[in-house]
């Protein structure tokens, strides 16, 4: 872990300059959410990079001001939610109609995501739910998204919407058994070589239903796996996956 952590930590600078490719960016962001020291370093670097940007200031075209100000009253503003999201915002603009996904699935995923927002009882939960909803929307909107459904060995179904191009997948479950408070379902991205990276815990929203979970850094040949783990999750799977979904269909 520490060697890998060190490797990742070296990427703070490249990340702050947007000099990582999409896949590395996704895995680095996953790392950032767990590494407060990295996040702090990136924050200072972003400030420095902004100064590099400020130094390029030139007089903008006069017509631009009029055009932007004219567009403002016609442009709806986003409600408060998670910070950041530059890339997500760009992805979200892709029309949903271009995906080959069934309307039923889209409606279900959207409903579950909205449900998670509605059920949040603290601001943190609300933020998480909104972030997850936005991330889900981005994957669903990817033009190459495809759906894979598998039956879990414990019962119930697991559905993944996978975009190989975005290296991300959204996983929803239906009818999987509820667990006691001491156990959780944990999601993994498992490479063809058998290396598992945690993609987080599945949050139960109501019996038999979990809110959509996002797996980043997904590559062709990988599998998405779900295991039952002690509450809080583990760093490596400790049980046999209850389901495996291949990324490439």
């Amino acid at each position: 872990m520490s060697a890998q952590h060190h490797e990742l930590h070296l990427l703070t600078g490249s990340y702050a300059l947007d000099a990582l490719n999409h896949q590395e960016q996704a895995s680095f962001e996953r790392h950032l959410s767990r590494c407060p020291a990295c996040a702090e370093e990136v924050r200072g670097m972003r400030e420095a990079a902004a100064r590099l940007g400020m130094a390029t200031a030139v007089t903008p075209p006069a017509a631009m001001r009029a055009r932007v100000l004219a567009a403002v009253p016609r442009t709806r503003q986003l409600p408060p939610g998670p910070a950041g999201g530059g890339r997500r915002a760009a992805l979200r603009r892709l029309p949903l109609g271009r995906t080959g996904l069934g309307a039923g699935f889209l409606a279900l995923a959207a409903a579950v995501a909205w449900l998670a927002v509605g059920q949040a009882s603290t601001n943190d939960q609300l933020q998480q739910a909104r972030a997850s909803r936005d991330a889900v929307a981005a994957v669903l909107a990817a033009p190459d998204a495809h759906v894979a459904t598998r039956t879990a060995s414990v019962g119930g179904t697991v559905t993944a919407v996978i975009s190989e191009r975005e290296h991300e997948a959204v996983i929803t479950t239906g009818g999987v058994p509820s667990l006691t408070a001491a156990r959780v379902y944990q999601l993994w991205v498992i490479t063809s070589g058998g290396t598992a990276t945690s993609a987080g815990l599945l949050q139960a929203t109501s019996p038999g239903l979990t809110s959509p979970a996002l797996a980043a850094g997904v590559q062709a040949g990988d599998q998405l796996g779900i295991t039952v783990e002690p509450a809080g999750g583990t760093r490596q799977p400790t049980t046999k996956p209850v389901v495996l979904v291949p990324v490439t269909d």
Partner: protein
């Protein structure tokens, strides 16, 4: 790729009406007003950032028409997503300039833009540009020039190629004929030194 070019040297002191710390500190409350739909507040934010945003996007993309289009999108993004700005996570300047840089990078890495850019491979120094540098940001330019000058040549070149050139660190490594690991380290060390040199308050 020399961005920092001012005709005369002056001691570093802000002129009258210069926004504090390059525009950051006073903008956070304005963005909160923008988030509540205040169009007048947005005009102030626009006037503060349109120059830097257009300048940066143009620096990366080169093409004036494309740059204008992207800069417009960025300023509209500022309006649209103002509610997502969180002063606890960084300055308003960093927030706006990050949006601008990411938008420019998105455009660079989309294939159509890549071909357009290849036709303009010759780097154009800012001196040769037909656009006027803003007097208000002369202080930023001097500071950036001084701080970039304090880096090792490889640190400075890597940071500039990545940020202004819009290259990934892999591409930077290839351009400079330096191993990947070295570039990662140089970019990181360079940015840390830049941060310290600019005495960025956090």
């Amino acid at each position: 790729m020399d961005v920092v070019n001012t005709s005369a040297e002056h001691p570093e002191q802000p002129g009258p009406g210069h926004h504090k710390e390059g525009g950051g500190q006073d903008t956070a409350p304005l963005l909160a007003q923008v988030a509540r739909g205040d169009q007048t507040a947005f005009e102030t934010v626009y006037d503060q950032f349109a120059g830097p945003v257009y300048g940066l996007v143009r620096k990366v993309l080169r093409d004036p028409a494309q740059s204008e289009e992207v800069a417009q999108e960025v300023m509209l993004d500022v309006w649209r997503t103002a509610s997502r700005f969180d002063p606890a996570r960084g300055s308003a300047t960093a927030w706006v300039m990050t949006i601008a840089h990411r938008r420019a990078i998105d455009r660079v890495r989309s294939e159509s833009a890549a071909t357009a850019r290849e036709q303009k491979l010759t780097p154009d120094p800012v001196t040769g540009d037909d656009v006027a540098e803003l007097v208000e940001t002369a202080l930023d330019r001097r500071r950036v020039r001084r701080c970039l000058g304090a880096l090792t040549p490889l640190q400075s070149e890597s940071v500039k190629l990545a940020y202004y050139g819009g290259y990934t660190y892999q591409q930077v490594a290839e351009l400079l004929k330096v191993p990947l690991g070295t570039i990662k380290t140089r970019i990181r060390d360079g940015l840390i030194r830049l941060r310290d040199c600019m005495e960025v308050s956090l």
